[in-house]
């Protein structure tokens, strides 16, 4: 039996659109995971620190402001510095198609665009967390 995954859901940058982040947080809880939601205006340092303190199995980030090309590399670097590169990071919000390869290149595990079903995201997390454990 797989252990209960602990997931950090975070809103990096100054973006206030948190409908998606909150709906995902609740869906993951309903699917049986433990979810820590950071709230708004988190710097990369705050997010990685929270991930470390809470010993999470995966990190979900939601950005709708277009700041992802600057913020994601910082977060991925900080994770490496803290030996956390095996913690899968998934990204949602408004991430244009042509930005996705760059996000995957720096180590983001998946990008979920508008219209993605909750089921798809939940399944993905169960699977990646199981793989990371194995």
């Amino acid at each position: 039996m797989q252990k209960t995954p602990r997931i950090l859901i975070a809103k990096p940058g100054l973006d206030g659109h948190d409908r998606g982040a909150k709906v995902i947080a609740r869906a993951l809880r309903d699917a049986g995971m433990e979810v820590i939601y950071t709230g708004l205006r988190q710097t990369p340092e705050m997010i990685v620190n929270a991930a470390l303190q809470e010993d999470v199995d995966s990190i979900g980030l939601s950005i709708l402001s277009g700041a992802h090309p600057v913020i994601l590399p910082r977060i991925m670097d900080l994770l490496k510095e803290n030996d956390m590169e095996d913690v899968p990071v998934f990204l949602g919000g408004i991430i244009p198609d042509d930005d996705i390869p760059a996000m995957l290149d720096i180590g983001v595990a998946a990008v979920f665009g508008p219209g993605t079903s909750l089921e798809k995201i939940t399944d993905f997390i169960w699977q990646t967390v199981a793989e990371a454990e194995a």
């Binding site: 100054l14 659109h17 409908r19 709906v23 708004l40 710097t43 600057v70 408004i94 244009p96 198609d97």
Partner: protein, 545 residues
């Protein structure tokens, strides 16, 4: 034939052969829609419930002739990158027949950070234009006659400072504050609820707002001092009835705060304005606008005892619903926007923004912005729906829905009153919780295909990079930082230090801060410096999660 006979003789046999699509039909607010609405569901008291346009309770509109006199103001929300680039987009939109401006600011500006603040990392010029200094505002409004074109600004926590910038730029253009026309959003309560660009805790935030009410009633009388916004509440997932309820509950809190500060309701109330969403459920949306107008008129007259009919009128801007637009098959969004825009017009809006078809992907391209504006122009000039006032009045279904939305909204307002008002209800997490619940239930309904979004959970196709998207120049962050540095070197820094001290003292007093904001800006103090000075005195709002 009576209705009962019709049901027995004609409906029953039809249902046996062709069952209806669903067991029950409901609106977003959970209002059941009948198969057929007939005069028996109509509150027949025409004069009390509807009245005439421009007369209490304003159900049929705030003005006697509505669009037969003048169409609504076509006001496209726009702004990105630097002041210079946004100024060019505004001039393009005005040249295409747009009739008012609506400024989108970037997030650092909205939260009171200069472009070179560490918190601004990656956000400069992204979701709107970066305006940390009076210089930037002067460039943004260059060549735009402030006595003729009205300027709406989506700015909340630092709204008073941005208004002070417009006043200062007006002076440079030779336009008196009394001639300035426009709107600041200035609605902090919905920032706590749904939009997230708050800075200060509630008490000093409400004081900044009542300072603006007071100052503008004397100095800038044609300015809308607040745009009490349901738009973002709806985008966060509320129903139509919740949108009306939570918006008007916030309105009640502002009016009460101003009266508590000693202001005369009939002096400041005519400068209040509202901002609603135009969503998908067409009939409910038309009803929603009418219900909001009627309910607000009653609140102002009966609850607050306003005497001037102008204080009873709910005047509003509308924007089509960004959250309904899809990244999949984005051309379909043009149709969604057209339907939503028609609901706003049939609901009697004073101004309108129609969204770009590419909004689920990025900021609108110039072409997308033009189609959005053309959509309004087609509705205005070709559809004929503006040629008679409030054409849906008397529709059994629409009047029924208007009554129902009003009743449901009133129930929520009663709950909020019992909790001690909007601010207490927000601090207790009640309003946010109700919205989140509605958002989550909607998402679940989508997953179960009880709700259909064309191109997303039905009628899907394989597609690749369907349309061009707006791309922003990443070098502008560095350019803005360099501009700020130059301004800080060129200005009289002793004077700025002195003004910072004065501002901190004034923040602790009851003095109206508006005149001092103008003075600070004219000495090139930056937005970030002003907001940080106030942060040091008042602290920052920390939401409970």
């Amino acid at each position: 034939m009576d209705k009962k006979t019709w049901e027995e003789k004609h409906v029953e046999p039809t249902l046996k052969r062709f069952p209806e699509r669903k067991a029950t039909f409901e609106t977003s607010s959970g209002i059941p829609l009948g198969r057929l609405h007939t005069p028996d569901t109509l509150d027949a008291n025409y004069h009390e419930q509807l009245g005439f346009p421009g007369q209490y309770p304003f159900t049929r509109g705030v003005q006697p002739t509505m669009y037969r006199g003048r169409f609504w103001t076509m006001r496209q929300y726009a702004g990105f990158s630097t002041a210079k680039e946004s100024n060019e987009r505004y001039k393009f939109l005005l040249s295409q027949g747009q009739t008012g401006l609506s400024v989108a600011f970037d997030l650092p500006t909205q939260i009171g950070y200069d472009s070179d603040d560490p918190m601004a990392l990656g956000e400069v010029g992204k979701v709107g234009v970066s305006i940390p200094t009076l210089d930037d505002m002067a460039i943004l409004l260059d060549g735009i006659p402030l006595d003729k074109v009205s300027i709406s600004m989506t700015i909340n926590a630092p709204a008073s400072v941005l208004l002070a910038m417009v006043i200062a730029v007006g002076k440079r253009q030779g336009v008196e504050p009394k001639q300035l026309r426009g709107t600041i959003q200035n609605d902090i309560l919905k920032e706590y609820i749904a939009r997230g660009t708050y800075i200060y805790p509630p008490r000093p935030s409400m004081r900044l707002i009542t300072d603006v009410f007071d100052y503008c009633s004397r100095e800038v009388p044609r300015w809308n001092t607040i745009s009490i916004s349901g738009y973002h509440i709806r985008e966060a997932g509320s129903t139509a009835a919740q949108e009306v309820a939570f918006t008007l509950a916030n309105g009640i809190a502002y009016v009460q705060a101003a009266m508590d500060a000693g202001l005369d309701v009939d002096v400041f109330a005519k400068q209040l304005s509202f901002f609603f969403n135009a969503h998908n459920n067409f009939l409910e949306e038309v009803a929603k606008f009418r219900a909001a107008r009627r309910l607000w008129a009653k609140i102002m007259k009966d609850r607050f005892g306003a005497k001037d009919p102008k204080s009873w009128r709910l005047r509003f801007h509308t924007q089509t619903a960004g959250s309904t637009l899809t990244a999949q098959q984005p051309e379909n969004n043009v149709v969604r926007v057209a339907i939503q825009a028609m609901a706003a017009v049939l609901g009697g809006t004073q101004s309108l923004h129609t969204n770009g078809r590419d909004e689920a992907i990025a900021l609108p391209t110039k072409e997308a912005a033009q189609i959005a504006l053309r959509t309004q122009q087609i509705i205005a000039h070709e559809s004929g729906i503006g040629d008679t006032v409030d054409p849906f009045a008397g529709s059994y279904a629409v009047e029924y829905l208007t009554d129902q939305v009003e009743a449901k909204a009133q129930e929520y307002i009663n709950n909020i009153d019992e909790m001690g008002g909007a601010l207490s209800a927000i601090e207790a997490g009640y309003v946010q919780g109700e919205i989140h619940e509605a958002a989550y239930q909607y998402q679940r309904a989508l997953e179960k295909e009880e709700e259909i979004v064309v191109g997303v959970n039905r009628f899907t196709v394989e597609e690749e990079n369907p349309i061009d998207r707006m791309k922003l120049d990443p070098s502008i962050e560095a350019a803005q930082c360099a501009r700020l540095k130059a301004i800080r070197e060129r200005r009289d820094n002793d004077k700025v230090t002195e003004l910072r001290g004065q501002l901190a003292t004034a923040a602790n007093s009851d003095d109206n801060l508006m005149p001092l904001f103008v003075e600070c800006l004219e000495h090139d103090m930056t937005l970030g410096e002003i907001c940080h000075t106030l942060r040091d005195v008042w602290g920052e709002y920390r939401p409970t999660l």
